[in-house]
Structures are given as C-alpha cells and as structure tokens.
C-alpha cells in the first residue's frame, strides 16, 4: 500500500496550480458563505473533490498512466490510495474554508462536520471518476455522477444538522468503492 500512497502524495504536491486553486476556492467560499457554514462546506468539498478527481484520476486515464496501475492488478490499493489523497485535499480545503469563515463571521465553525463530509465527497468523486474511466466516458460523466451522488448528503448538510443516515454514508460509500474497485479500476 505504501508505494501507492507515496505516489499519490507526490502527485498532489507536484500540481501547484491545483493547490493554489484549492486555496483560493476555499478562501473565496469562506467569504461568500459567511452566513451559512454548512452550505459553504458542501460547496468547497464539491469543487475540490471534482478538481482532484480530474487531476488524480481522469487525467491519468488521458495520459495512459492508469493503464500502468491496472497492469499491477491491485485495484483495491489503487482505489484506496486515490480516495485517501482526495480526502486529504478536501480536508485541507475544508480547514482553510473554516478559518476564513471564522475570520469573517466570528462564529465558530462546526469542525465535527469536516471528516465525514470530506470522506463522503472524496469517495463519491473517486467512484465517479473511476466509473467514468471504466465506461470509457469522460469528465462530464464523472461530474454528473459526483453531483448526483452528493445531492442527498448536501441537502442533509444544508439543514444544519446531519442525520444518522447521512453520517453513515461516508463509510458506506467508501466500502462500496473498495468492493467495486476490481470492476472500476480494471
């Protein structure tokens, strides 16, 4: 597993333009959503998950490098490393957003929402991107799937409190992704 994780972390760090845009988007949303923390959190995670879904997965398919990973015949490790990388990026963006939100509104951010939200969006985005590569379709398919998958969770988040069913979704999505990884990566 370690080589897969190291590879993802290096790729995250190399794409400074994506890092910069993540920071800027998260900061901008912190200003825009000064009145509604949860709505801004959903927006930040959606944009960042879609962005990194492209950089870490869809671009790899375009480059042909995903074929190299497929040949290693370890799809669970590929999927796990990808989702962990996306989770880290989403969590970092959520923290930046929360800091700006606090600075603008002077209201404490609900930090407990961060881990499940980032985990769910990362799993949804990874699954969408891998599904669209498996189906030989493109970025728009991935975006449509991500948007569809996050609808229920975002609606729950925007009400201001996440119900138990929504809280269970990140773990369910993650387990489903790993179970499907053999079909999605190969």
């Amino acid at each position: 597993m370690r080589p897969y994780l190291e590879r993802e972390v290096k790729l995250l760090a190399r794409s400074w333009e994506t890092l910069a845009s993540t920071f800027l988007i998260a900061a901008a949303f912190g200003f825009v959503f000064g009145r509604h923390y949860a709505a801004g959190l959903a927006a930040v995670n959606f944009v960042v998950a879609a962005l990194y879904g492209y950089v870490q997965i869809l671009r790899e398919e375009e480059l042909g490098t995903l074929d190299g990973l497929r040949l290693l015949r370890q799809p669970e490790k590929v999927a796990a490393a990808k989702v962990l990388a996306l989770f880290s990026a989403s969590l970092a963006a959520s923290l930046i957003y929360s800091a700006i939100y606090y600075a603008v509104s002077m209201k404490p951010p609900e930090l407990w929402l961060l881990p499940p939200t980032s985990a769910y969006f990362a799993a949804a985005s990874t699954a969408s991107a891998l599904l669209s590569t498996a189906a030989r379709s493109g970025v728009t398919t991935s975006m449509t799937l991500t948007a569809a998958l996050i609808l229920g969770y975002s609606a729950s988040l925007a009400t201001g409190r996440i119900d138990p069913a929504a809280l269970a979704m990140p773990l369910t999505a993650l387990l489903a992704l790993l179970a499907l990884s053999r079909a999605l990566v190969h």
């Binding site: 080589p3 897969y4 790729l11 074929d67």
Partner: protein, 191 residues
C-alpha cells in the same frame, strides 16, 4: 479473438500461441495496439479469450510513467508495488543519468527507454511490446533488441517497420492485415 469497435471489426479471428519471440508486423491502423492491449488484459475482446502465463511486462507506445514524477520516482513506485529492485533495469537502459529528471522533460526516445525499463521490472514471465523501437536512436534500438533476444519466455513484439526488428531473433513473424494474422518472413528494404 475478435474485436469490434463502433467503427467496425478490428480483429477477425486472431489465434496465436506464443512460446518464444514473435514479431507482429502491420501497417498503421492495422490493429496491432488493440491486439497488444487485449493480450495485456487492458481491453476485453469482443469474442474469444486470452491465457497468460503469469505476470506480463507491457510497454505500449504511450508510456505509462507519470509525467509529473521523475524517472526514479516512477521506477521506485513500480518496483515497490512489485516488490522488485529497479537498479538492474536502470543499468540495462543507461537511465542512471536521468533518474532525477522529470519524466515529461525527457526526449521521446528516453521516455520510451524508461518505460521499457518499467515493463521489465520484477522479471515478468511474458513480454508485450508495442513498437518498442519507435523513436529510439541506434543505441536504444540495440538495447531493446538485446533485451528481447535474451528474454526467457514468450514475447510479442509489434512492428510497423521490419528492418529494426530483424535483430530481436524472433522465432516467428506474422503480418496483421484486415484483422487476421498471416505468417510472413522479414524483409528489409523497399517493399
């Protein structure tokens, strides 16, 4: 094996039993890359099946190394995933001087060499090389020919030009034309 895309049939009943080195010659667009991808398990055949002897080393025309990582980082990743040592292939392809270079900064020929090194990591049981000499200089072509010649196991090498591949010492030559394979003999020079 049969393969159909939306544009029509690419392979029409290709049957191949590879025991040692086989060169498949074909013009551009004849289906060589599709055949290699099916043999590698990257593309499913429409009909038919492929039996592989074990782990297969594959190098396509489009290198599989990530352009944002250095040659060393790419090789280290694959070596780690395969629990293999990458020093031998670095030596074999003269990659030591390029280990710290970003893969995307290399010339096409060096990218191909590095990707061939990746394909050989961990001692695969079979080799699938899609036009491995394309874009290589004389030294690179010699290195590839030697690697294929020394390889102990089944190897399929595709070629769009016969001359470069005479040196690999193939046991059999085939021509892929109109979706079928026909035995052929290597010729070098104007055809």
């Amino acid at each position: 094996m049969w393969k159909r895309y939306s544009s029509g049939w690419v392979l029409r009943g290709v049957s191949l039993d590879v025991r040692s080195i086989v060169v498949i010659y074909g013009a551009n667009g004849s289906g060589k890359t599709t055949l290699v991808k099916i043999l590698a398990g990257l593309v499913p055949p429409t009909r038919g099946e492929v039996r592989r002897p074990g782990r297969v080393g594959v190098a396509l025309q489009q290198p599989m190394m990530h352009p944002d990582l250095t040659v060393g980082e790419n090789l280290k990743f694959y070596a780690g995933a395969l629990k293999a040592d990458y020093r031998e292939v670095v030596e074999l392809f003269g990659l030591k001087k390029h280990l710290h270079d970003k893969f995307s900064h290399l010339s096409y020929g060096w990218r191909r060499r590095a990707d061939l090194a990746r394909a050989l990591l961990g001692g695969p049981e079979a080799l699938l090389l899609d036009e491995p000499m394309l874009g290589l200089d004389a030294e690179g072509r010699r290195a590839v020919a030697e690697v294929v010649r020394r390889f102990k196991g089944p190897a399929v090498v595709t070629a769009s030009s016969m001359c470069d591949y005479v040196e690999v010492g193939a046991e059999a030559w085939f021509e892929l034309r109109e979706g079928t394979l026909r035995p052929t003999a290597p010729t070098c020079g104007p055809t």
